[in-house]
């Protein structure tokens, strides 16, 4: 019986002109473009410098800032208000004002002030930009100190090491999580439209009068998404390897096994939405509503640890959170199955609850 139902599902899928193409094209687009877009690495901060000092020292500071690679000098303004104006026009993000007695202050008093004004509308950029700038300035003073023969005294020696991602590439961090995002979008939103579209076309009545048991019907609906998910995942892994040279440091078999579990979980959720909806429009909006919240609360874009406690409590009920953690651990840290057992258990609970719910919520009687 399952065989015929599956045949029907695949025929329906393949006859659609749009869907098979999308299953191939979407993961390619997402994997090719999004790692470049979704980056918290701040580069090219536009800076406007007001140099009232015009000395060798101030010129050296400006050179140091522009050669750091983080800042792009937009203009050297004459007055502070010019610099603020270029912030207002959106040309500059940060204005730096060097006072007219910088060199004098340094040589005579030993202390000088420097004004940094950042456009903090984009909070992230403002705070990171100023901290970069502050650390460049402190490097600069150390340099001058060393030249002046003052050797910074011994004390605590700090040695930072960055593990797992030595080049500190943000793309590497995003790629495994973006795979989860594509799987969620395709294997979550397509099933949510599936049963309800049968309802809208009226073919659900024909299924309802057959002796097909509810569980078999739901499994026949889930299995195609499992294969679709497999294709999507394979394409993503291939693109990650060919374009970004990223291969999982853990076992690829583990990734596939856990993906099976996740795809069933998220398509089960889609089917639940589909069962409860009357029109495709409704199903789609409910699903979109949940996908946005699930994505935002999953740690995909922003760290979960930074959320307030109540929000962290909500993320416990987010299957994406666990799968993203699993994918990042296996892909980047080489975690084995044993290391990620807690997340795997949670995911398994979601799988049981959601698929059972999907079977129960499908009713033959309207």
């Amino acid at each position: 019986m399952l065989k015929y139902l599956l045949e029907k599902e695949f025929k329906q899928l393949m006859r659609n002109r749009f869907l098979p193409k999308m299953i191939i094209i979407m993961p390619c687009i997402v994997m090719l473009l999004f790692p470049w877009a979704a980056t918290m690495e701040i580069k090219n901060i536009n800076i406007s410098i007001v140099d009232n000092n015009h000395t060798v020292t101030s010129q050296r500071l400006i050179n140091k800032i522009t050669s750091s690679g983080y800042f792009k000098l937009v203009n050297v303004s004459n007055t502070y208000s010019d610099a603020i104006q270029s912030i207002e026009y959106g040309e500059a993000d940060i204005a730096l004002e060097i006072s007219n007695n910088l060199e004098n202050d340094i040589t005579k008093e030993g202390v000088s002030n420097i004004m940094i004004s950042a456009n903090a509308v984009d909070g992230m950029k403002g705070s990171i930009g100023t901290s970069y700038l502050a650390s460049i300035i402190s490097d600069f003073t150390n340099e001058i100190n060393e030249e002046g023969g003052v050797i910074s005294q011994g004390g605590i020696l700090l040695k930072p090491y960055f593990k797992f991602n030595p080049e500190m590439d943000y793309k590497v961090f995003m790629i495994p999580a973006l795979m989860v995002m594509i799987l969620t979008m395709i294997c979550g939103s397509l099933p949510s439209l599936n049963i309800v579209s049968e309802k809208e076309i009226g073919t659900i009545e024909q299924i309802n009068v057959t002796p097909v048991p509810k569980a078999i019907f739901i499994i026949a609906k889930l299995l195609p998404y499992w294969i679709i998910g497999f294709i999507v995942l394979t394409i993503s892994i291939l693109v990650a390897w060919l374009v970004y040279g990223l291969i999982p440091s853990g076992s690829i078999l583990t990734i596939y096994c856990i993906s099976i579990l996740y795809i069933f979980t998220i398509s089960g959720f889609g089917l639940i939405v589909s069962n409860y909806s009357n029109t495709m429009q409704q199903a789609m909006f409910v699903m979109m509503f949940f996908i946005i919240i699930l994505l935002l609360m999953s740690g995909l874009f922003t760290p979960i640890n930074s959320m307030p406690d109540w929000a962290q409590a909500i993320t416990i009920f987010n299957p994406l959170k666990y799968f993203i953690e699993i994918m990042r651990s296996i892909y980047l840290k080489g975690s084995s199955l044993k290391d990620i057992l807690p997340q795997l258990y949670s995911l398994f609970c979601f799988f049981i609850v959601l698929t059972t719910w999907a079977v129960i919520s499908y009713r033959k009687r309207s």
């Binding site: 473009l33 207002e88 903090a120 509308v121 909070g123 050797i151 590497v172």
Partner: protein, 374 residues
């Protein structure tokens, strides 16, 4: 005109009868504003710290205490051997490990040098870098205290210092809501207008009721326009909800002109509605319309509009693509007027681009609209 209004009434009936969709349409902005305003933050806080401290003396205990007391770190795990470090990282229990030398205090005081290793989980380069920065500051502050106390700070008087005075313009408290409110507005209005309109039109095609409408004496153009009116109303309701929420709940003031803000928003609503019309003239099925407008609008809206990730960091190709995202122009304009409180003359480019997009989309979708069924 009477015909037109009865068509509009018909559309309202469609929407009002579907209580669940209507509920989502009205609740979505509220939930998103609350999530973005209170839950989501790009700050780095509560970095989970592992400690490997073979010396366990005055100095290391005091540093650990300082770390734990700061809002940036929570001490999560005390390790005993270096072998445990790798495992703790793999099990995802910690984000950073701080490894002290043995006889730490003695070395600092007598030898004048002792080393601390900061091992950070570099999978997230952002948290790692910022975490190392915070830890460095805390340890340096401790060292400063120590050197002042034991008065071997002979050299420090000769060193020079440059003190940066930092001023955060427009958003002095660095509230994340200031960044997100314009973004959420752009995303919600875009989703509701373009997705809903395109689906509503395509549904009539798919169900075959479009034929019934086309044989009525109403001009085809009014059929399409009447479909957009209810969504225009809903979008305006949403716009007002978002404004009220952000002003009274998130306490984000409107520093610029409210009138211009509303004009720009309504212009953006028109762009989105016409985009919805355009999509509906291209696709044939609701699934396609949904994937096209839903995923095709939602993803670029979230990623390429400057809502979360600064556009300037992206490669040039993506920057060009972002110029085609209407939400990007709208968000820039809203930031300009609402947060920075600037005059409209500062965001004329954005205004013209949105206007141009609206005209272009309406023109193409009218051209492409088929009066006859195939």
């Amino acid at each position: 005109m009477n015909q037109f209004s009865s068509f509009v009434r018909k559309e309202f009936c469609h929407i009002l009868r579907d209580k669940r969709t209507l509920l989502i349409l009205l609740v979505m902005p509220v939930v998103e504003i609350i999530l973005f305003g209170f839950a989501i933050s790009t700050d780095v806080r509560n970095i989970r710290l592992g400690i490997l401290d073979p010396s366990n003396d005055v100095a290391t205990r005091s540093i650990i205490q300082d770390m734990d007391a700061s809002k940036y770190f929570t001490v999560n795990l005390v390790l005993h051997t270096p072998e445990e470090i790798e495992e703790a990282f793999r099990k995802n229990k910690i984000d950073m490990v701080i490894v002290f030398e043995d006889k730490f205090y003695e070395r600092v005081v007598h030898n004048g040098s002792a080393s601390v290793q900061l091992l950070a989980d570099g999978t997230n380069p952002n948290t790692a870098k910022i975490g190392v920065g915070y830890a460095t500051n805390i340890i340096m502050a401790y060292q400063m205290r120590l050197s002042q106390k034991s008065a071997f700070s002979g050299a420090s008087s000769a060193t020079i210092r440059i003190v940066p005075n930092i001023k955060m313009l427009y958003n002095p408290q660095m509230k994340a809501a200031y960044t997100f409110v314009p973004g959420v507005m752009g995303m919600i209005l875009m989703l509701i207008c373009s997705v809903m309109t395109s689906i509503a039109i395509v549904r009539e095609k798919e169900r075959g009721t479009m034929e019934v409408l086309l044989v009525s004496p109403v001009k085809p153009i009014s059929i399409i326009l009447s479909k957009t009116v209810p969504y225009l109303v809903i979008s305006i309701v949403n716009m007002i909800t978002i404004f009220l929420l952000s002003i009274f709940v998130l306490k984000v003031p409107v520093s610029g002109s409210m009138a211009w803000l509303i004009i720009v928003s309504i212009l953006f609503i028109f762009v989105s509605l016409s985009l919805g019309m355009l999509i509906s003239s291209i696709v044939k099925t609701q699934v396609a319309a949904m994937l096209f407008s839903g995923i095709g609008m939602m993803l670029p809206g979230m990623l390429l509009s400057g809502l979360m990730f600064p556009i300037e960091n992206m490669p040039v190709l993506l920057q060009w693509i972002s110029y085609m995202v209407p939400a990007k122009w709208y968000i820039t304009a809203v930031k300009c007027i609402m947060i920075q409180g600037l005059d409209i003359s500062y965001c004329l480019t954005e205004l013209y681009v949105l206007l141009g997009m609206a005209v272009l989309f309406i023109f193409i979708s009218l051209k492409r609209f088929k009066y006859r069924l195939e």
